[in-house]
Subunit: 333 residues, 2 copies
């Protein structure tokens, strides 16, 4: 085991778009755990649009500051334990940050099963899968026969949302950027239709794809696509507000979408924001349903694994530009 | 009974602010009912911000067009009936439009009790009171001890919302325009605090009035006040979207409030749009609770009655400018 720890530090909070110069790779001494702590070695770091949102200010976690090791969740292995209930070799999902080694309190860490492939612990059986599951079913509440639209539909969460909606009997329309992603949605992931938001008038394209209107919209992006959906919602439609990736990479936008609150009133819409942790008391039931769907082949898991800690910055920058299909992560050991 | 019918016609759909030249008073022959219809004489016409929204496009009713008799609900008396179940002298609340006499199908009209004062049928026991009741209790769902904010707090709906919230044990903060209205809220209607949105930084004033944040916001206005509330909402807060009066008198606004959907996600907010008709199956229970509060003196009813059909245009223009306190209506007979 190396005595050194490679870390990616956030140099400064970007004022415009995130770029590689906002990060630097540093080497520091490997930390050692105190009583109650564990030394973790990162295996796979999860890349999430929220990583960028953390730079904009306090969200559901405190804001990042320049000079911090970049924050992020990872699947990690216990190397040394001074905490009860954890032993070397145990797998945990933890807020390690972008580094090889980290020291964290053992309290609050839960041992994950050593499944095959391990990467599924970050995708369908991790925050990603649970976000899709609870956001769609608890906030969107689709009924069989209803029309569900999801944005960032080929992304980590979106690709699972659309498939769960289909499994629950809904008609599913995905919004994604570019022909290749749209083709993937309908040909491989079972979407009924796809709308390419880069191809022009999204509001009109959604009207064509959802002639009777949208019952449920799972919003990963905010901005123009949210606005286009608001204008196409049906009476009593529901919007699950999961994220706003279109708005993270730069200064916070000066305005929100048109139609707020006018269309919310006249169409009697419900918008529900959620953060997956709020549902963790029902995690086990969700994981068991997800597992059945994966085993039966009804739910396809798409992952995008990049190798090497040094590639974390470009992996996040690329994710914000929409280059990934499915769950993006970086293998760091 | 006059053979003539005085009517207020909407000359054209205003592109900017509504003004008296958008209306004209005309005289036409008094209409006569066919089989199944009744001839109604209007008593009190209800003035509502929604009247202006109907000019912007289809809402929960079809859009108005230039040349139409201006639409509006009124308390009216049956003069002649060719419909089963209705007889001369019966009182009804009906979509008569701005005119002395109207002919409507009897089906769908419900006879109202001849209470004293009759005007309460348009305020606390009408659409106004029921909107406040269901919007607050079903969409806002305040719990005792929570902080409830209501905008247009001295208006027809707002003045009732704040009082119901107080009766349910909440701490109540009203947002209104000007010192006089704010004083009325705290001195006469039992609000715990008032914020004058004309006095400057509403977001900061709300933070001072609600140091622990807002649990429930009853939104009558949209726009800047909605934005200021979004930034002050507590985790898991609820916003009842009732209307957007700040946005009706002119072209629809080019943008929505900032913080949508970002703050909805990170604060796990729920926004629920509603239209009171959706709750009419539970109307009787609501009216009975409202009646008890009024009789016991716990709920004060504020009304603003203007005399004369010819004053309808200026009454609506003034309402949009926020000049009324409580429920505004025009006595037409």
């Amino acid at each position: 085991m190396s005595e050194l720890n490679r870390q990616i530090v956030l140099n400064e909070i970007p004022s415009g778009r995130l770029a590689s110069e906002h990060f630097r790779l540093v080497e520091s001494p490997r930390p050692t755990p105190d009583d109650g702590q564990v030394l973790l070695r990162g295996l796979y770091v999860s890349l999430d649009a929220a990583n960028r949102a953390w730079m904009q200010g306090a969200t559901y976690r405190s804001a990042l500051r320049g000079g911090d090791v970049m924050a992020g969740g990872a699947l990690a292995e216990v190397v040394e334990s001074r905490a009860a209930g954890l032993k070397p070799g145990d797998l945990v999902f933890a807020d390690t940050g972008w580094q090889e080694y980290s020291v964290l309190p053992g309290r609050g860490l839960t041992v994950a099963p050593r499944i095959e492939p391990l990467t599924n612990l970050l995708s369908v059986y991790g925050v990603t899968g649970l976000t899709a599951y609870f956001g769609l079913l608890d906030c969107g509440r689709p009924k069989a026969g209803e029309t569900v639209v999801v944005s960032a539909a080929a992304g980590a969460v979106g690709s699972i949302v659309g498939q769960i909606a289909r499994l629950k009997g809904a008609r599913v329309v995905g919004v994604a950027g570019g022909e290749a992603k749209c083709a993937l949605l309908t040909r491989e992931l079972g979407y009924d239709a796809a709308v390419d938001y880069k191809a022009g008038d999204t509001r009109r394209a959604l009207r064509a794809a959802c002639p009777d209107g949208i019952d449920v919209y799972f919003d990963n992006v905010g901005g123009d696509v949210l606005e286009a959906c608001l204008f196409n919602m049906k009476l009593h439609g529901r919007i699950a507000c999961c994220g706003a990736v279109s708005q993270y990479d730069g200064a916070p936008p000066p305005h929100g979408p048109r139609g707020v609150p006018g269309l919310i009133v006249t169409k009697r819409l419900t918008l529900t924001g959620f953060v997956v942790m709020d549902f963790y008391d029902r995690k086990d039931a969700a994981l068991s349903e997800l597992r059945e769907w994966v085993k039966s082949g009804e739910l396809k898991v798409r992952e995008d694994v990049i190798d090497g800690l040094e590639n974390l910055p470009s992996a996040l920058i690329g994710l914000l530009a929409g280059e990934n299909i499915g769950k993006r992560m970086v293998k760091v050991a």
